[in-house]
């Protein structure tokens, strides 16, 4: 190593060298502030058009210098995950670390190159930054978001999916769910902004259950889930997850897999423990009220669970052989295994709900009987009547409705597995039926021969993207922007579906009114056509008298916000009145139950009803 021990003795004349500086140019610096570096961390800028008011900047701020301010005249959009609030910065506390910039999910925040603020007015140090900066001078951005600087974890924990070949070989569940490690890592991606809570029709406590999962407390997660959702095994699998659309992390990365986390919580806690958690808080004394619910779908089951927990005696009348409604007979088993649905329903039963299956109104029991035996009645019978395109040939017996085919598959009935089929429709039901039938084709004929005809173009598909992608992997051919023209029948058998090019979907007023280019036609060879273009409610069971007494609006039963019909004893909920999916039905079930409970509280007890 180098020894630098001083040896030099020095000379008194050395400092005189400094005299040479007399001839140097003086060092003069200008008085005005020097421009800051391009990367400078000066006062904040916030692009209000990008900012969604999630408040993550406030969470990361190490000095509590950021406070969220509610601004009433700002736009708000729960579905898109936008709150009418913006961050305000306290420059008495800020240390310009720019962690707020690095974590901002939208990239709206940045620090500017402006760095001078002098004032004796203390209030001037608390600012609500916009894109023009603290003094409105429009300084350019300094430290701002870059591709690599994000503090958020933008990568979702991967969810495995059965390979197409294996998926096609049966009705086994497509996705296995997260293991514990993946679930904790995925849960750690959540920033607890609560956008999902607002976006969910049921207002679920997703931030709370995600945080609980991250902390390893799965029981607490289940308890949080049950606060708003008694069909969590179902929703953890097939929910349309509006929450993930609103998720702030999804602004620049993949949204938190909120649905899979719910599923993980439900899958990892044993059933009897779930039951205990779910039923906790049930009224100890029966109320003496009796509520009848018609239809054991998601709306009816949810309302039944809520009402039973309040101490009311609840009976559900279900026409089919098993409860669940569309969840059982509409959604294919590979997306929602029956035992998971049964697990949710078992908990609902355990809360005290009585479910009478194979009991159709008008056939096994009359509406009047039910009304007479109940303090309140809720109808939630869904949409089971299939719509038809009504083009020439749709009256052929091998033109089937998607909902009938799906029901037959669940029931194990033989509906005649087609050799070549065409599904008409571009929504999730179309893909459910196409993929279910494809599995049967594979089993029976060894190959898939399935076309799906959708009116929408590829970028505006109604079905979920993953459905479309997985279907393609399973050998199903999708034809976009085509509409059915006619069905070719030869010797009494269907041979093909003729389709024409769809050139526009909506008219000038935005109403559904497809226009076709009749000159462009394509023929799809098929022996069976399956229509999946929508369903309607069949309300004939209500009886003529009640149908006439009730108020209707455009063919739908008219209800108030809580689901109450024009008859004071009758509520309606679910697809038959609102739609469009399970989670909305659950939300409607909650609303109806709350309304019923409130009305019952103010009603005299019918004699003989006290248990």
């Amino acid at each position: 190593m180098s020894d630098v021990t001083p040896k030099y003795k020095g000379s008194v004349l050395r400092p005189l060298k400094a005299l040479a500086n007399l001839w140097r140019e003086p060092a003069t610096l200008p008085m005005e502030p020097r421009p800051a570096a391009p990367n400078y961390r000066g006062f904040h800028l916030n692009d209000w058009k990008l900012c969604i008011g999630c408040g993550t900047c406030q969470e990361i701020c190490d000095n509590a210098a950021i406070r969220m301010v509610q601004i009433p005249d700002l736009p708000t959009d729960a579905k898109a995950g936008v709150k009418p609030r913006r961050p305000a910065i306290d420059y008495g506390r800020c240390c310009w670390c720019a962690l707020c910039v690095d974590i901002c999910p939208t990239g709206s925040l940045s620090l500017s190159r402006e760095y001078i603020h002098v004032s004796s007015d203390i209030d001037s140090y608390f600012i609500l930054p916009d894109e023009k900066g603290i003094h409105g001078l429009g300084f350019e951005k300094g430290w701002s978001k870059s591709e690599t600087s994000d503090l958020l974890d933008h990568q979702r924990q991967e969810m495995e999916c059965l390979p197409a070949e294996e998926a096609l070989s049966g009705f086994g569940e497509l996705v296995p769910g997260y293991d514990t490690q993946a679930a904790v890592l995925e849960a750690s991606r959540c920033i607890q902004c609560g956008m999902c809570h607002e976006a969910c029709p049921t207002g679920m406590n997703a931030p709370e259950y995600i945080r609980a999962l991250w902390q390893g407390d799965r029981e607490k997660a289940v308890a949080e889930i049950y606060r708003t959702n008694p069909l969590a095994q179902v929703c953890g699998r097939i929910c349309t997850h509006a929450c993930e659309t609103a998720c702030s992390v999804g602004r620049r990365g993949a949204p938190v897999a909120i649905r899979w986390l719910k599923r993980h919580a439900m899958d990892s806690v044993p059933p009897d423990q779930i039951r205990e958690i779910a039923i906790a808080g049930k009224a100890e004394e029966p109320s003496g009220r009796r509520v009848s619910i018609i239809g054991a779908g998601p709306a009816g089951l949810t309302a039944a669970f809520d009402l039973a927990k309040k101490g009311h005696a609840v009976t559900i009348y279900e026409a089919r052989s098993k409860p669940g409604g569309m969840m059982r007979f509409g959604i294919p088993e590979y997306r929602l295994p029956y035992h998971n649905l049964d697990a949710d329903i078992d908990v609902i039963r355990a809360s005290g709900v009585e479910i009478l299956c194979n009991t159709a109104i008008g056939r096994d029991v009359s509406m009047a009987q039910i009304r007479g035996a109940s303090d309140a009645v809720l109808i939630s019978t869904g949409l089971w009547a299939a719509r038809s395109a009504r083009v020439p040939g749709t009256d052929h017996p091998r033109v089937l409705s998607a909902i009938r085919v799906l029901e037959a598959i669940t029931q194990g009935e033989d509906f005649g597995v087609p050799r070549r089929a065409v599904v008409v429709g571009g929504g999730n039901v179309a893909f459910d039926v196409a993929r279910s039938v494809a599995r049967l084709q594979k089993a029976r004929y060894g190959e898939v021969a399935m076309d799906v005809i959708a009116l929408e173009d590829r970028d505006h598909m109604l079905a979920d993207e993953e459905e479309v992608r997985e279907a393609a992997g399973e050998g199903i051919d999708l034809f976009n922007s085509w509409g059915p023209k006619s069905i070719q029948i030869n010797d009494g058998s269907i041979v093909a579906l003729e389709t024409v090019r769809c050139i526009s979907l909506k008219d000038a007023e935005g109403r559904f009114h497809p226009k076709y280019d009749e000159s462009t036609m394509v023929s799809h060879a098929a022996d069976t056509v399956i229509e999946a273009i929508g369903q309607s409610a069949d309300t004939s069971y209500l009886g003529k008298e009640l149908v006439e007494a009730l108020e209707w609006s455009r063919g739908r039963l008219k209800i108030d916000r809580a689901g109450r019909t024009s008859e004071p004893w009758l509520w309606a909920a679910g697809d038959m009145v609102e739609g469009p999916d399970v989670v909305h039905a659950i939300a409607a079930g909650h609303r109806a139950a709350a309304s019923i409970d409130e009305v019952l509280a103010h009603m005299a007890v019918k004699p003989g009803n006290v248990a």
């Binding site: 021990t5 001083p6 060298k17 190490d62 720019a98 890592l185 750690s188 607890q192």
Partner: protein, 380 residues
């Protein structure tokens, strides 16, 4: 102790008296005081008095998320903040088993060596000021400012960079910054003869600092002295070489030592270290032109990042000596314990007290500064 609470000890009427150095004194980088008992102009006893800069960092760090502390650590030592960032980040990386991408390691060394040069430039100025030479201070600070411009360009801030983060650094280098740094290094080397004239070859300095405040190697080892102060007594120990971190093993540099252990020897060691840092920086800049890749490891969302339970002791060679962060995690989102072991805790307290005994009053400030103690590091 607050100055208003200070009650001088009443001594019998004699030639013994007490002086209170500080808490604001040019002989110290920061607020710090020394009670000096004198007989004539010879120090009989010196008692250090800290606490003016106590900000409770170790306590506050327990209440913040792992990533939030990145904003806190550089503040522990104003003149040399980068080793603080490096030690903290490395402690967290050790706990979390995080691998720092190679490019980030080179950038960190760049930052560390620039910080060392800045700190030493500061010390030259301060040390000269204690013996009445202020030009050095102005020149040192001016030179340092050129480095601060580079820091500002890279990190967006001049002093508290908050740039090194667990897993790497927060941003990649801006375009062209290496060329501008090269120009600053050239300027530093061009100015070197002038600094030498002003300080190291200045008879005033030589006569005032030679043989003053001597620390023998045995004393230095017994009292836990590290860094340039230890090397000035002849022991070539440097954490960068003996307990290496980042890419230091891939770099060529000497460890300057001196044998006399006096104030001037310590300053000579620092001067030679600046030369070595320039040498290191030139190698780093060369490598940074070719080494690509990410500058930050992929880490979980900082709001919900549980660092695995365990403990880590991350040592860094700062401009003042051995800096270490002892970090304990209980597996939670916040540190359970962070201890800052600043080198000045040794040479700024017990060592200073001993070395001042027998010194003359006019040398007290000079000795204090030649040890290059950083009071905020002691106070934390």
């Amino acid at each position: 102790m607050r100055p208003e609470n200070y009650k001088p000890v009443r001594h019998p009427p004699s030639h013994e008296y007490e002086l209170y150095f500080g808490p604001n004194h040019p002989g110290i980088e920061g607020n710090y005081a020394i009670r000096v008992r004198l007989k004539g102009d010879v120090v009989q006893e010196a008692i250090t008095d800290a606490g003016y800069l106590h900000r409770g960092f170790e306590k506050i760090m327990e209440e913040r998320l792992w990533v939030q502390n990145v904003a806190l650590v550089p503040r522990i030592c104003v003149p040399d903040p980068v080793p603080m960032e490096e030690s903290y980040a490395r402690a967290v990386e050790t706990l979390g088993g995080i691998e720092v991408p190679e490019r980030a390691q080179w950038i960190r060394v760049l930052m560390l060596e620039m910080s060392r040069i800045c700190a030493h430039l500061f010390t030259f100025g301060g040390n000269a000021a204690t013996i009445g030479l202020y030009t050095n201070m102005f020149w040192g600070v001016t030179m340092r400012d050129l480095f601060l411009d580079i820091f500002e360009e890279i990190t967006g801030a001049r002093i508290y960079h908050m740039y090194i983060t667990p897993g790497g650094v927060r941003r990649d280098l801006p375009d062209g910054v290496l060329d501008r740094l090269a120009a600053v290094l050239d300027e530093l080397e061009r100015k070197k003869p002038e600094f030498d004239d002003l300080f190291f070859e200045n008879a005033v300095v030589i006569n005032r600092a030679t043989g003053v405040g001597v620390l023998t190697q045995a004393q230095a080892l017994a009292w836990g002295v590290t860094g340039p102060n230890l090397r000035a007594c002849g022991l070539a120990h440097d954490v960068r070489r003996d307990d290496p971190y980042l890419v230091y093993p891939a770099l060529k540099f000497d460890i300057p030592t001196a044998t006399s252990g006096c104030s001037l020897a310590r300053m000579h060691v620092r001067r030679a270290e600046v030369e070595q840092s320039v040498r290191i920086l030139r190698q780093v800049m060369e490598r940074l032109r070719t080494v690509g890749g990410p500058v930050r490891a992929h880490l979980p969302n900082p709001l919900a990042w549980n660092v695995p339970a365990g403990e880590a002791y991350a040592r860094t060679e700062s401009s003042k000596g051995e800096l270490a962060f002892f970090a304990v995690s209980n597996g939670g989102p916040k540190p359970w314990r962070i201890q800052v072991r600043g080198p000045s805790q040794m040479h700024g307290v017990q060592v200073l007290e001993r070395i001042l005994e027998g010194a003359r009053i006019e040398d007290v400030a000079q000795i204090m500064f030649s040890l290059d103690a950083c009071p905020p590091e002691i106070d934390r």
